[in-house]
Symmetry: C2
Subunit: 186 residues, 2 copies
């Protein structure tokens, strides 16, 4: 690890792993209903769904295997490979609500991001514990008390959240970080 | 979480969880030999043992369940309870070499340190990613590039390592941290 490089912490669900798509599929297969983008804009599926259904989804997430088979978010592999050349990349995911997700998440990363060292994977709760220059995440609550710059990664649920900087996809994320690096920030 | 308090990151194996005792027991039961303190001083069991036996032990650690049933290190519970009153305590363990250990370690913490929030548990590789004022660990390699002060927790294997500050048990660790806090360090 080269400690003079900028360090970027990157969340998993809805940032590099398409957890929402899998939740929607599960909902369709289990309850026969397909949630639309319009319905999900500004809200989380678990808060929209019937409480009994939400409980079932919570159980699914607790079982852990849900995380084994998620699709990679568009452009994430190429982006992280490119960023790895100039930044130290850490994958930092809030796994402590679903401790059984750790092993499946670990194997998913090994499979889909083999160029990220396992030593650069962090399963945590509070992300304020991370010593990084940037944190790319879809939940602004993780930026609270984070010592670096939080970068909001757009997701349907955070469309109504005010935060700057916001990036809409991996291409924008790479552009933003590259511009920061070239400007000598932070 | 009160962010104005000093933050202490604390390792698990050989710091709050007696992994060595369990490794010795496994060795005795599997290979009929009891390693003495004298043999283990300044060295790690996996480097001393016959390579075939070391491989077996590696397999045991990879299975994960080994970590489910470790004894708590003497005084650790009382010490962490006391420290929790004045510091933010994070449990920060290098679990990425043994990803299957995450769930057993999580449950072990829940059982033995129920007063530590799951959100304050961190499973990582490189500990340089931790934003903390102090890191109590039995391996000095984790202090490299750590932004705070590394505090070496004595273990047989690190007896010959030069590092200051070193604490020999949990009573000394509490004394050291309390003195630092009262002195306004860092």
């Amino acid at each position: 690890m080269q400690s003079n490089r900028l360090r970027v912490a990157i969340d998993m669900d809805e940032v590099i792993a398409d957890a929402l798509a899998a939740q929607r599929l599960w909902y369709r297969d289990t309850h026969g209903y397909i949630w639309t983008d319009d319905e999900l804009r500004g809200r989380k599926l678990e808060n929209l769904a019937d409480p009994e259904h939400a409980k079932g989804m919570e159980k699914l997430l607790h079982a852990g295997d849900f995380f084994a088979d998620l699709d990679v978010m568009p452009g994430a592999q190429e982006a992280l490979k490119e960023l790895s050349q100039n930044f130290d990349i850490f994958i930092t995911t809030a796994a402590m609500e679903y401790p059984a997700s750790c092993a499946p998440k670990f194997h998913w990363l090994k499979q889909n991001f083999p160029f990220i060292s396992p030593l650069n994977i962090v399963f945590c709760g509070h992300k304020s514990i991370l010593a990084a220059d940037y944190l790319i995440d879809d939940n602004v609550r993780h930026f609270r008390n984070f010592q670096g710059q939080g970068v909001l990664f757009s997701a349907l649920h955070n469309q109504t959240v005010e935060w700057s900087p916001r990036v809409n996809d991996w291409q924008e994320a790479v552009s933003y970080l590259t511009a920061q690096r070239l400007a000598g920030n932070p």
